[in-house]
Amino acid sequence: MLRVTIDGKEFSAKPDQTILEVARENDIYIPTMCYHARLSLLKSCRFCLVDVEGAEMPMASCATPVLEGMVVHTRTDRVDRMRLEALKFLLVNHPVECPVCDAGGECQLQDRTYEFGIDHNEYPPEKREFPRIPYGTPLIRQWFDRCVMCLRCIQACVDIIGADVLEVAEHGFPSYVKAAQKENCIHCGECLHMCPVGALTEDLSLIKGRTWQLKRIQTTCTFCGCGCQLELNSLVRKNLLVKVTTKGEAGINQGSLCVKGRFGYDFVNHPDRLRRPLMKKSGVFVEVPWEESLDLIATKLQEVKEKYGAQSIGGISSSRGTNEENYIFQKWMRACVGTNNIDNGARLSSASSFYGMIASTGWPGMTHAMEDIVRTDLILIVGADVYDDNLVFSNKMREAMRKNNAKIILVDPRKTQWENWANLWLRPLPGTDIAWINGLVRILIEKGTYSKEFIGSKTEGFETMQSSLGRFSPEFVKETTGISPADLEAVADLYMGAKKRAIVFGSGVTQHANGTETVKALCNLALLTGETEKGGGGVYPLLSQNNAQGAWDMGALSEFLPGYDRVNDEKACKRFEEAWERKIPGKPGFTYVEMFDKILEGKIKALYIFGEDPLITLPNLERLKNGLHQLEFLVVQDIFMSHIGDYAQVVLPGVSFTEKDGTFTSMERRVQRVRKVISPVGDSRPDWKIFCDLSTKMGYPMRYQNPTEIMEEIASLVPFYAGITYANLEKGGIQWPFVNGGKRRFSPIEYREPLERPDEEYPLWILPRGFHYNYGIGTTDKRAKGLAKVFLETALEMNPEDAQKAGVNDLDRVKVISPRGEVETICRTSEALPKGMAYLATQFFPISINNLLISGQDPISRSPEYKVCIGRVERW
């Protein structure tokens, strides 16, 4: 520790700190403009000058490291004058248009001008001409004359995101910030957030507002599992969301967002929002009052229950909905309706991850916090398009690269953005991951890269697993996956050379029929060197839905009660029965896909769907659509009319995340508050309230006054949510802890062939790919004006040679045919794709790739096989 004197007071400092950092830690004010804690030093504004005794010239405090015994004066005449002149120079060419500038009221330049006491322009301005060039994204407008050339935007784009869109064009006086590589722009708005003045303004909302007019509430983003904190700004009188801002200190994202979080908010006020309950009368939807719709649902469900039994009723909950809603939903289904036929949307994307993690580590979720990846020095990314799906986590991984020189191994058949930064890139055939993982584990064990002490004391099953690896020689790996022994060896070498290794995986691993097994195989790899433990690198299953973790924690599942007790565990059942004062069924129910199979078999007669659209998410849709009429009663609760809604008898209008209170649990197990910003649109009601009213009508009264009470109940029943109250959550999110850890388990993993492989008739792999502007299934962001502006049209991406063989050219209309169905789309040829594989944008309506997919399932997790599909392409 060093001793530094600033303005007469002595402070202690670490040797690598700068004067500015020490000053900020101790609440001493030094004005800055270009400095930002998250960016590399820019040193361009000269505002932070301080006088240091012994130095002839003033030093820039943001860039000067402290020395033992340094004496600093932050307010001397010389320094004050220099700061004033620096500001005056900036103001010379800055147009005085604060009243019409969006940044008015929040502008750093305004604040400094007021602070330094400047009231007029001393130096005559010179007219500058600027070219009219569009910015990197249509969602942000660039005002060249307002720019103070702090260069924060350029640095942010390079450092944090890695997109590298902006650069300084020209030299000297005519220089300006130019969006030179527009095609790299992912519209994340980092530059917008960093700009201290109004040179970059958001160009999405036609309605603006000043800081003193808008209500600004911090809440959790609804788009992906990162759980970023953002502030929604609303115009109270019009009940309208106007923009999204972020605070630098709040949450894991520290001010960053992705395009969905920053520009995707306007679906909330879309005119298509459901405003009133709808009931089908003579085949047409008619608006009805709430009482009537709820009465009908209660009556009909009772009827079906009496006629066919409670097991003929099913419920699908939303992994976008809050924890409280998921909890109430499953409580209602179990205690009131009396069935375990409950499931939620996350089953389809992440069930394998939950099952695999429970099997190997004993806990369903990320082993560490997202922040911990910054401390690793090797990141293995398997089957996850992190840049597109979880941008903020991608930013964290880039931080690891910057701070620790972390090495990156990317394993993905498709070329994703991370390929640019990866040291090694492997391209296995789809569905064959188990082979190369086992192969890698075998090599590492041979080379002695495993922690004997850890394995001996804290794990079990190592020997069994080790002996099962016999057939996974490098030749076998080459045969099944296509990865050469040299590549596998290179991966092993890199892996061995690191100290803290992180394993990141996503839907490329989980959305397979062998998903759970693959996750367990990855955990085997992690357990070899103890990466799952506190000092290790961590295993990071990425979740694409904001509350997938929460929906699973809350037991909105057919086989789990809240807190992951099994429904057939008598002791657990008893505990809940006592708390809920009702008997609950003890046999596991049907899962998401099974429920729909059972509908076609006539076993399920009534269904309640909350916030999901099975007609987009389920595979093999034609078969499904033809069988839905067998349902006697269907209720859909959503914010927009969905495809499945058309088949329903009653449609109830729920609310978006901006109109209700609650909590989301992010993929790092962090429970964070969702706060109400605007009033429910039209006559819609918060979803938890709808469930409570319905349950009360059906004879099981739920009289919660607010979600706070629901969370109190959850905290009392789910051991790892104990201690979570809304009062505690005010201070920030709480990551629920692992308590009572057992031993970790190694599992021997069998290799199974993928459900289908390309053959003569269907020579291509057709793989789904999600664009990152869509969030799940497009219900919300097709209606977000900003996201729609940057949407890429659905297209089939093919290797040019395959295209030639099929007789199609770039931009042709083509038909993609699989053994299950066909879709029409446009073809784009790209070298980024390997021969034999084609990628089709997934989860978009009106064309839905799910027509093509196979109905296989992972036998353990019951998650569908999304990522293995064969097909052929024809001209259309």
């Binding site: 604060c98 009243p99 019409v100 008015g104 407008r141 036609l206 309605i207 603006k208 507002g209 000043r210 003193w212 007019q213 115009l235 009188r237 019009k238």
Partner: protein
């Protein structure tokens, strides 16, 4: 005793025969002073619409918080007030809004004659403010 009495009566007689200074309002009206602050009006620009760019400065400077502004942009990117409400009943006619306005859109007019028997008509919106211009050429 008599002399002061007669002096006083002389003053009274003077006044009796000189011109009355009463201004017979409403038949006669005294024009207000040059900088007199009356009911506000909006200046028109060349399109005949308000010059107001909805910057919100008048809203925040108003001591009685009688102004409410909502900002919107039109297709060309020009700012205009989506909603501009000035409550003439709450207003204290201090003239701060006129001083604050950077584009000289709002002025204090010379009118003061406005009687209603409800509060609602006294709530001026953009249209009413533009109409007030007629009384303030």
């Amino acid at each position: 005793m008599i002399i002061p009495l007669l002096q006083g009566l002389r003053l009274t007689l003077n006044r009796f025969f000189s011109k009355a200074i009463t201004i017979q309002y409403p038949e006669e009206k005294l024009p207000p002073a040059k900088r007199w602050r009356g009911i506000e009006y909006f200046e028109k620009d060349e399109r005949g619409q308000t010059k107001c760019v909805a910057c919100g400065l008048c809203m925040i400077v108003c001591p009685s918080q009688c102004i409410y502004v909502e900002t919107a942009e039109d297709e060309e990117g020009r700012r205009y007030p989506l909603t501009y409400e000035l409550d003439a009943a709450r207003c204290i006619y201090c003239g701060y809004c006129e001083e604050a306005c950077p584009v000289n859109a709002i002025y204090m007019g010379k009118t003061y004659e406005w009687v209603e028997d409800k509060r609602k008509p006294l709530l001026m919106d953009t249209k009413k403010l533009l109409e007030q211009k007629i009384f303030n050429p």
